[in-house]
């Protein structure tokens, strides 16, 4: 685990040296998991409620390296979540762009998206299953449904909240609507759009897994449920950890995209990109000061 900046949640915690910090983290970890392990082993905690950490770890090891049973479930779940994400984001952003361009659409159609959003998406699961069946399409549909709103509202907000002076600058330069959209609106909105995509990613995974809980023959969600029905708690917990891993890998992917795309928001990245653009320019145009 990484530290949260010392001026954030950890404000007021005494600053320790790096070695002391590592020790402190190690100690907390040991107390937490050691206590849990001991409690389990000595029968204070019922294995049927909370299996020992080592049992869960062993189960994970088995799934990944002995039977390899997890891979198919992993892949299918990631596939469903990703497809749902792509579809949900496309619809959300498509609607947002339409609403940003057309005031009429914004006024008369966009309110439905808001009503839609305040309806808990998860509650629609039975309908989704009824409409799309028990296969992967219902998982994708629910994932798309749950994740469509953040990209919609963020994209719309981003496209409409452009600095007034920037808009006047583009107008005074005789810009077309299309140029304004491409060169001003979209890049200005990118940070908030990407924030929306991060939320959508989490939503897509939740949607997929909930749909799998309802009905599925494959996927980490149904795997977990099967374990739980058989009172196989270490298996269930192992499946939960796999879900965390999925969430973590998708989250990391989004962070990477943020890092790459929004270079102008980080000083180290600006230096990198600036050097790159300079090289490109000099290659293309030569050193103009010499001419």
């Amino acid at each position: 685990m990484s530290d949260i900046g010392s001026d954030g949640v950890l404000a007021g915690v005494k600053e320790l040296s790096p070695v002391q910090k590592t020790l402190a983290h190690g100690l907390v970890f040991l107390v937490l998991f050691g206590g849990w392990e001991l409690g389990s082993r000595m029968g204070y905690v019922n294995e049927l409620i909370m299996p020992a950490p080592t049992s869960i770890a062993y189960r994970l090891y088995e799934m990944f390296f002995v039977t390899g049973s997890i891979y198919w479930h992993y892949i299918i779940t990631m596939y469903e979540a990703t497809m749902g994400f792509i579809i949900g984001v496309s619809i959300g952003m498509g609607l947002a762009i339409t609403a940003a361009i057309s005031p009429v659409f914004r006024r008369y159609w966009a309110p439905y998206a808001v009503v839609f959003n305040v309806t808990p998406g998860i509650a629609v699961t039975p309908f989704i299953i009824a409409w799309f069946g028990f296969g992967w399409s219902s998982k994708i549909a629910l994932a798309a449904l749950v994740c469509f709103f953040p990209p919609f509202i963020n994209t719309l907000t981003g496209l409409l909240n452009i600095d007034k002076d920037a808009t006047e600058l583009f107008r005074s330069l005789g810009s077309t609507k299309k140029q304004y959209f491409q060169k001003c609106q979209i890049p200005s909105a990118l940070p908030i759009i990407i924030a929306g995509l991060k939320l959508a990613m989490t939503g897509a995974l939740i949607g997929t897994i909930v749909a799998q809980f309802f009905s599925a023959s494959e996927g980490v969600g149904i795997l977990m449920q099967r374990f739980a029905f058989r009172l196989n708690m270490d298996g269930s917990f192992a499946a939960l950890i796999v879900m965390s891993l999925m969430g973590l890998s998708l989250f990391t992917l989004m962070e990477y995209m943020d890092y790459k795309v929004l270079y102008w928001r980080r000083h180290s990245r600006m230096e990198e990109v600036s050097a790159k653009r300079k090289k490109q320019w000099l290659k293309q145009n030569g050193d103009m000061s010499q001419a």
Binding site: L173, T176, C184, K278
Partner: protein, 257 residues
């Protein structure tokens, strides 16, 4: 014709709504190559007058001619600069300066060379590939000035362009601006709150008074050019300052604040 008139307004009026008359009965002519300062208290309609001339907003009544044509919208011989630099954060200095050419589809080696030269002219050598957030406020305004020069506009409308900067930087940039726009070709309309600055820079000062926004006086400044900072302590200079003050206070006396 003795003087070549570039911009003229007569009976010009802009009303935003029942209560707000931002510009009322403005009558003025601006000769080619002149530097006009527009000074007045906050909210008196300076920006509105500039935006009318630039074609960004429509007048309510009266005549407004630029090169003898009614203003109907933005035109390529008019360039603007604002109090904020309004740079695109994701573009380097040179890419920002090239924006006008990109929009007009005139980007080529020649345009790139001019952009490069404009950055050198405003003192940004070695910052051609910096991003706005890597630059100080003063340097950002220099990029904005280079972008304005890149438009090739010979009518420059500057709305408190250095108003957000510290006094030292502002004075330096004012002098550099004077050097750049001097000569018979470029016509400049410069908005400021600062009476000294208005007089120091201009051939003519338009004094605006609020509610409704009127051009209350047009004062010709007969100080020798090029200007230098020592002139600001001469009696003639102070005389002009007093004149402007009189117009403003004469109007403000007896007015609720």
């Amino acid at each position: 014709m003795a003087e070549d008139i570039v911009i003229s307004g007569s009976g010009l009026r802009k009303q935003f709504n029942e209560n707000v008359i931002a510009v009322e009965d403005a009558n003025f002519t601006i000769p080619r190559g002149s530097f006009i300062s527009l000074v007045g208290p906050s909210g008196c309609g300076k920006s509105t007058l500039l935006r009318l001339i630039s074609g960004l907003i429509e007048k309510s009544e009266g005549d407004l001619l630029v090169r003898s044509n009614e203003v109907v919208g933005p035109r390529s011989d008019i360039g603007m600069m604002f109090q904020k630099a309004v740079l695109l954060d994701w573009r380097t200095s040179i890419e920002n300066v090239l924006l006008p050419d990109e929009i007009r589809g005139t980007i080529d080696t020649d345009a790139k060379k001019r952009a490069w030269d404009h950055l050198q002219l405003v003192g940004l050598k070695d910052f051609e590939f910096s991003f706005p957030r890597q630059l100080s406020g003063g340097m950002q305004q220099r990029v904005a000035l280079a972008r304005l020069l890149q438009t090739g506009a010979d009518i420059m409308l500057l709305d408190e362009p250095f108003g957000a900067l510290d006094e030292f930087t502002r004075e330096r940039l004012n002098d550099e601006l004077l050097r750049i726009v001097e000569g018979p070709d470029i016509t400049t309309l410069f908005v400021t709150h600062n009476i000294q600055e208005a007089i120091y820079l201009a051939d003519q000062v338009f004094v605006m008074t609020p509610r409704p926004g009127r051009i209350a006086a047009q004062i010709k400044i007969d100080l020798p050019t090029p200007r230098n900072i020592d002139m600001t302590t001469t009696p003639e200079f102070n005389n002009y300052v007093q004149q402007v003050r009189d117009v403003l206070s004469g109007h403000l006396d007896g007015q609720p604040l």
